[in-house]
């Protein structure tokens, strides 16, 4: 595992070096890219809990990403127009405060994950993949056809939301904030993976009959993991919306679900640093190849095909050689 640790350290160092360079070289665009990578990594940390530890191939995590995004969009748009969200049965006002927005984003995406998970986890295998994909699409169409919050056009937020003690309009400060959130989420994922719950969840992925025989329900373990996973991805959605100061139905799109999954796979399923490595690689590719060709996704497709067919452990797995993931 020491080689794995060395690679994790290298990934981390690289991911910190870029924003520091961007800051001192005065390249705010690079900092925006780094922030984007960090937020996508956060979404992937969420998915990795369900996928890596629980073996749940959710192709609908954009649902939670989008709900987090709209939680931010709805709260902030009411705050910027000074109109209450509801005045009956009790008065609910909008807000521009990130901690409140994050809480709402996590609670709503967690509730959605509870409903979608409870339905989807009645099945397994291919059914589960197709059903999560379908529920994601349902929210996509709902967001398009619900006119109150911009429908297909989405919602713009004019000023980035605030965080106590920080000036989030300064790119470096917003980057540091998202990076801190990511670090906290990775720490949580690490602790969960080693906990009694993590042990039981990993066992349920490999030998569900055995888990039942020791008196634990795989369904409940998986649902718990799915809800935690959805909450983290929802939080990432709220941050993503804040980065762009814009939300639209594309945050619910199946492509986004695919992208989050690709990040997890490129980095290496079940690996703590996998999402970070995968997101950094994807954003870099997007930027570099996107500069070379308008059709850069052809190359992304070819790369992904190569990883799936020939390098099954993702970047970290391939570099670290054969060592045990899910550690």
């Amino acid at each position: 595992m020491s080689r794995g640790i060395a690679i994790n350290t290298a990934v981390l160092a690289l991911c910190l070096a870029v924003p520091v360079y961007a800051h001192f070289a005065g390249e705010p665009f690079l900092l925006t890219l780094a922030t984007r990578a960090v937020i996508l990594a956060l979404a992937a940390v969420g998915l990795n809990i369900a996928l890596g530890h629980g073996g749940l191939i959710s192709l609908g995590h954009a649902a939670f990403f989008g709900i987090g995004g709209y939680a931010m969009g709805i709260l902030a748009s009411h705050a910027q127009t000074f109109t209450p969200i509801a005045d009956w049965p009790l008065l609910i006002e909008g807000t521009k405060s990130m901690p409140v927005i994050w809480l709402v984003a996590m609670v709503t995406s967690g509730l959605a994950a509870l409903v979608i998970g409870a339905l989807s986890l009645r099945t397994s295998g291919v059914y589960f993949i197709m059903i999560t994909l379908a529920f994601g699409q349902m929210l996509y169409y709902f967001a398009i056809s619900w006119p109150a919050y911009g429908g297909e056009d989405g919602l713009s937020i004019y000023v980035r939301n605030g965080f106590p003690g920080l000036n989030t309009l300064v790119p470096m400060q917003f980057f540091a904030l998202t990076a801190t959130v990511l670090a906290a989420a990775m720490a949580l994922a690490h602790v969960l993976g080693r906990s009694a719950f993590g042990l039981a969840l990993n066992a349920a992925r490999q030998a569900p009959a055995r888990v039942e025989a020791v008196g634990v329900r795989p369904f409940r373990l998986r649902l718990t993991a799915f809800v935690i996973s959805g909450m983290i991805t929802g939080l990432a959605g709220a941050l993503f919306a804040d980065l762009n100061r814009f939300v639209s139905p594309t945050m619910f799109s199946w492509q986004l679900s695919g992208e989050i999954m690709v990040i997890v796979i490129l980095g290496g399923v079940g690996r703590l640093f996998g999402p970070l490595a995968g997101a950094a690689l994807l954003v870099t590719l997007e930027h570099v190849l996107g500069g070379v060709s308008d059709y850069w996704q052809v190359y992304l497709g070819a790369l992904l095909l190569g990883v799936v067919l020939f390098a099954r452990g993702g970047i970290i797995g391939t570099l670290a050689g054969r060592d045990v993931a899910h550690g």
Partner: protein
């Protein structure tokens, strides 16, 4: 009332088109155990091939033939080059590899044809309305789609129950080793089944391409609806795909038509339209959820 019947026919047409997509997916899953996200790309390829050939020759029938041929060829090609390496892999690998194929096909098509939509015209001999009994006027072309779809359904039924190929397909579903033991060339069978499913998707793309525009990304929304169809009908069952497709087609079309009217009875028109259509957009997924609660393996799926 006449409008309602027209909507029922529209729903039927939509359902039949979904069936063409779902049939290939469910066959490929039933026989090879593979989930193929790139099935929507084959639909798109069929539509583009038809639009290109119709543009060059002016013949709609040639265009349809081209859609079948192009999609079948593309299907056979990816089966040989990529898909057959995935049969023994887990579903995650299948999802990712076929997701990668979507990226390659979508961007490749954008590169070849540009980002602007193409249009495929309905030929003169199929355009205009046709009079049905009861004084109903209905699009001749849409009626033709319903006819073609039902004919394909019948053809598939005969193929699976009456022909040697069908026997092999059913044997392959039951047991891969058995079919190999019977001395049947299993990799050729797989390529054939995959190309057949691809051709059906391509045909659907071409026929719909004449009603809507032909553009990159047209396949995936239909693919996801086809997944809903399969979840409702049961994986691997062609009969389930037909019943599920008709159910989804009717639910979606009639929901979009009736819900705003229903809400209009109790609230003012503009918000009735808004709430009605937002709810209608979720209706088929709610249908799917209900089926999941009642029968987790679908209407015609094998029970666990």
């Amino acid at each position: 009332m006449l409008l309602l019947i027209e909507q029922v026919l529209n729903g039927l047409q939509f359902g039949v088109m979904l069936f063409l997509m779902a049939a290939g997916l469910t066959l490929v899953f039933g026989v090879m155990g593979l989930i193929n996200l790139a099935h929507g790309s084959l639909y798109m390829i069929g539509a583009f091939a038809a639009a290109a050939v119709a543009g060059a020759t002016g013949s709609f029938l040639l265009a349809l033939a081209a859609s079948l041929a192009a999609a079948a060829a593309a299907g056979a090609l990816i089966e040989v080059a990529v898909i057959r390496r995935l049969y023994d892999r887990d579903h995650l690998d299948q999802v990712l590899a076929t997701f990668a194929l979507i990226l390659i096909f979508s961007e490749g098509t954008r590169w070849a044809f540009g980002s602007f939509p193409l249009y495929l015209d309905i030929p003169a001999w199929l355009s205009g309305p046709v009079s049905l009994p009861g004084g109903i006027e209905y699009s001749r072309y849409r009626l033709a789609i319903i006819g073609v779809g039902l004919a394909v359904a019948l053809g598939l039924y005969l193929l699976i129950t009456r022909t040697r190929l069908g026997i092999r397909i059913r044997a392959g579903e039951a047991d891969r080793e058995m079919i190999a033991a019977l001395g049947i060339d299993i990799s050729r069978l797989y390529t054939l089944v995959f190309a057949l499913g691809a051709a059906l998707a391509g045909l659907a793309g071409a026929m719909v391409g004449a009603i809507q525009s032909v553009q990159v990304g047209m396949g995936e929304p239909v693919l996801i609806l086809a997944f809903v169809v399969i979840v409702i009908g049961g994986i691997g069952s062609v009969k389930g795909a037909l019943v599920g497709a008709i159910l989804v087609g009717l639910t979606d079309t009639l929901g979009g038509y009736l819900l705003p009217i229903a809400f209009g009875q109790v609230m003012e028109a503009s918000s009735a339209t808004a709430i009605g259509s937002a709810l209608a957009s979720m209706l088929i997924y709610i249908l799917m959820a209900v089926v999941l609660i009642l029968r987790p393996t679908g209407l015609y799926g094998a029970r666990a």
